[in-house]
Amino acid sequence: MTTIPVSNGTSNSGSSGRSNGTPAPAAPRAVFDWFSAVAALGVVGIYIRAIYFTPIERLQGAAQKIYYLHVPAALAAYIAISITALMSIVYLWLHDERADRLAEAGAEVGLVFLTVVLTSGPLWGHRIWGAWWAWWDMRLTLTLFLWFIVAAYLIVRGGVEEAAMRGRYSAVLAILAALLIPFIHLSVYLFQARLHPMPVVLKPGEPSLPPEMLTTFLLAFAAFALLCIAFIRARYRVGLLRDLAAELAA
């Protein structure tokens, strides 16, 4: 009687069968989030300093102080989005779901900070220029398009059910978006350079800042960077708990 040999491999059926062999991460203990608390205090401290202890700018009045929110928020957004882009490359290279989770966290946090930039910009602009939107403001325009791209990224994530495909699609989109940014920059520059010669707007906070303002700015940058990291950490934990819960429920 001839037979074809069949091997009976080590039985692992019935277990959760994690496809890429990484060990299941330990569920994080519920612990007071010191990092976020410190970051939050930092932001509060900055605002107290900005509002009460920083001089009012001569030309623009108190409205200028929104810049201590607007510019650091932009920085925080760029940090978050860079994390997303970087983690996307890591994910495509290593297929580690932690990279994918971090990319997701970065994108959501980035969207929040981008929204802050996009709402604080017009509020300030209306005060200063009398116009709600300044297309010639490169940063604002770029931020707007970034917002759409990050929103598309999050919608793609929502539209793909299978985890591995979701990770791949998001990573591809993130990398392509990173390639796109310089082109948007170039085309917007070309657009406004021809039609709207760059207005000589004294963007507050640029050259020759009195030392108190400069200090406030730098502290604001630090506080927002800290806040960004805190948010990403928290969001990552949410993603981790969600994934663990889904795994247990299956």
Partner: protein, 251 residues
Amino acid sequence: MLPASPAIEAAGVSRTFGRRRAVDDVTLSVPAGDCLALFGPNGAGKTTLLRLIAGLLAPSTGTVRVGGRPLRDDADARAQVGLISHQSMLYRALTARENVEFAARLYGVADPRAAAVRALDDMRVLDRADTPVRALSRGLQQRVSIARAIVHAPGVVLLDEPYTGLDAAGGAALTGMLQSLRAARAALLLVTHNVDEGLAVASHAAVMLAGRIVRMADCATLDARTFREEYRALVVNGDGLPTGAPLGLSA
């Protein structure tokens, strides 16, 4: 002359989708000229296994080889394979002839027109060659799909429920086709839940349950009636096997 490596080889192949293990540590081999019929209930993982062997899915663990070469990155290995699946893989707006010629060209067949005519004729559907596929009945579409899969004279043919929708004439044409493929030393892997059709062409039979191969036997030594009863028992009762039961042959 060195013995040819088995035409189809799977070694320790597993595939998980998220948390679900669809194929669990499967090892099998089908030498040239043999036909392995793979039986199993719905959801056993037969289609997933077939897709893994065809190179449409990457295994989570283990390796898959066709003609001794891994399929996914080897174009020459893929050129040897023909796939027939649940879906027809045809383009409804094009005629039967155009569909099969397109497939022939994709595989670089020397005279695509003649090859297409031959394939359609073998499946007894040449008289409808110039009808758009959407105007053909399900059974005729299935015949055209089979013609498309074998137009390039593959050395390995993977079939997923190929008898679905075929009438007696179509079924006979398919069985004849499979037998001549075997005679031409092609290796066949036939997934089906119809025991009679499977045993009619197969040289070996295997049963798959919950992602694992639980039975493997040589058809020459198989008693068809016993096999049919055992198979029914396995399928109807779910996993009638106690864990740790020795695997091997049923006779």
